[in-house]
Amino acid sequence: MPDQALNDYIPILLLAGFAVSFASLNLIVSWLLGKRGGTNPDKESAFECGMKPLTPERRRFSVKFYLVAMLFILFDIEIVFLYPWAVTYKSLGMFGFIEMVLFIAVLIIGWWYVVAKGALDWGPRRPAVSVQSAAPSEQAS
């Protein structure tokens, strides 16, 4: 078959078409056949365990989530660099191994710095005594 690399992606396109039409069909069918009920203030309001919401819904959330997202991007890119290396590992020889040990060493230093800075500690700010921070890691290991 000519142009094998491109032909490989024809099924993906077909599958994407199937997935998109299946998802939209679900939405349309339930919209067409679903019961139509009237509306009332309680139905329109946000769910709050039966109470009327007292404060606006958009609330602040911890900046830690942004931090995790940023760290993810850094580490994920480094992991993606590992893939071509892993695939060609056997043909690279000793050079490839040493090179990657150095690369991973840099990765680990970065990781250690992030952990030491407390970027991955959740909950209240670091307690003076490490009772609380010791407990989760004990359970996790």
Binding site: M1, P2, A5, N7, D8, P11, I12, L14, L15, A16, F18, A19, V20, F22, A23, N26, L27, V29, S30, L33, G34, K35, T39, K43, E44, S45, A46, F47, E48, C49, P53, E57, F61, K64, F65, V68, F72, F75, D76, I79, V80, Y83, A86, V87, Y89, K90, S91, G93, M94, F97, M100, V101, I104, L107, W111, L120, W122, S137, A140, S141
Partner: protein, 344 residues
């Protein structure tokens, strides 16, 4: 040449229809099995009224979902709110593309591999598409404009991206041994020895991350019903609600398939070599397919089993497990694999 292309496209259409239906029907049965097995584990009966032993329960559920009122509350961001369930479902179906279901089948004198697309980037494609599933959950949480969905969505994003790191790293060891990302190559190389024996640490990390990526207990923080009502899909009703579950169960099936392919030998049966499969012809293909499905179903059962065995993690425990335990473990696995397979 033209005939080849027609056959190629037609066979792929048939494969797509069959494989997606297998995944969706399995997802439906999984929603029943989930309740029945849970019931058995808690000495209850579970839903057993519709059809023989409750086997038609998923169909009853689907009908009910379709005819329920599709509530779109006034306070939501309408466009994202409607799109979110579709975005959660589509990537789950797309990732099916590279899962090999069995040895090649022979149809009309042509060899048809039982995989929708045998891409040379294989696993990378799964990771790329599966991570898009996060958007569905984050959009749902954000667009709902409500307290619990918001918390669920934010948690989901942090959890899924954190575990994606270890997930991606845990398979690097496998690819150092195979030297290829192509799924069929990975299966072929496990003919003698499954990678779960040669890569035990990678296997362990991958399984744990698979639980976190599909938001299953003990890592179901995004929906944690005891604290967040229903997490990111609190405000959803009708078919939109069901689509999140279809997406989740399909993703569970895909991850079971990935585990089976990468670590449990794919369609391989112990002490049966690839030549034996080839000698059996199409029966061999069916046998391989059955073996692959058996492994998947065993893992799907394992998902339910774990759900009722291990309690839910706290969020800080979850994050420190991902970043401080699994990530270093996965890195150590890469280094160890490098040492054991030192190129001479």
């Amino acid at each position: 040449m033209n005939q080849d292309l027609i056959f190629y496209v037609a066979s792929n259409l048939v494969k797509i229809i069959i494989f997606t239906h297998i995944a969706l029907i399995l997802a439906a049965l999984m929603s029943l099995a989930e309740r029945r097995v849970s019931a058995v584990m808690q000495s209850r009966l579970g839903p057993n009224r519709v059809g023989f032993g409750g086997i038609l329960q998923p169909i009853a559920d689907a009908l009910k979902f379709i005819f329920k009122e599709d509530v779109v509350p006034g306070h939501v961001e309408k466009v994202l709110f409607v799109l979110a369930p579709a975005i959660a479902l589509i990537p789950a179906l797309l990732t099916l593309a590279v899962i090999p279901f069995g040895p090649p089948l022979e149809v009309l004198g042509r060899e048809v591999p039982l995989v929708i697309a045998d891409l040379d980037i294989g696993v990378l494609f799964v990771f790329a598409i599966a991570s898009l599933g996060v958007y569905g959950i984050v959009f749902a949480g954000w667009a709902s404009n409500s307290r619990y969905p918001m918390l669920g969505g934010v948690r989901a994003s942090a959890q899924m991206i954190s575990y994606e790191l270890s997930l991606g790293l845990s398979v690097v060891g496998v690819f150092m041994v195979t030297g290829s990302l192509r799924m069929l190559d990975v299966v072929a190389l496990q003919d003698d020895m499954w990678f779960c024996f040669t890569q035990p640490v990678g296997f362990l990390v991958f399984v744990i991350c698979a639980f976190a990526e599909t938001n299953r207990l003990p890592f179901d923080m995004p929906e944690a019903e005891t604290e967040l009502v229903a997490g990111y899909h609190t405000e959803y009703s009708s078919m939109k609600f069901a689509m999140f579950f279809m997406g989740e169960y399909t993703a569970m099936f895909v991850f079971s398939g990935l585990i089976a392919t990468l670590f449990l030998g794919g369609w391989d049966i112990p002490f049966m070599s690839a030549e034996t499969f080839a000698a059996l012809g199409n029966w061999g293909a069916l046998l391989g397919f059955a073996s692959f499905m058996a492994k998947c179903c065993a893992f799907l059962f394992f998902y339910i089993w774990v759900r009722w065995t291990i309690p839910r993690f706290r969020f800080d425990q979850l994050m420190s497990l991902g970043w401080k335990v699994l990530l270093p473990l996965a890195i150590a696995n890469v280094l160890a694999t490098g040492l054991f397979n030192l190129p001479s």
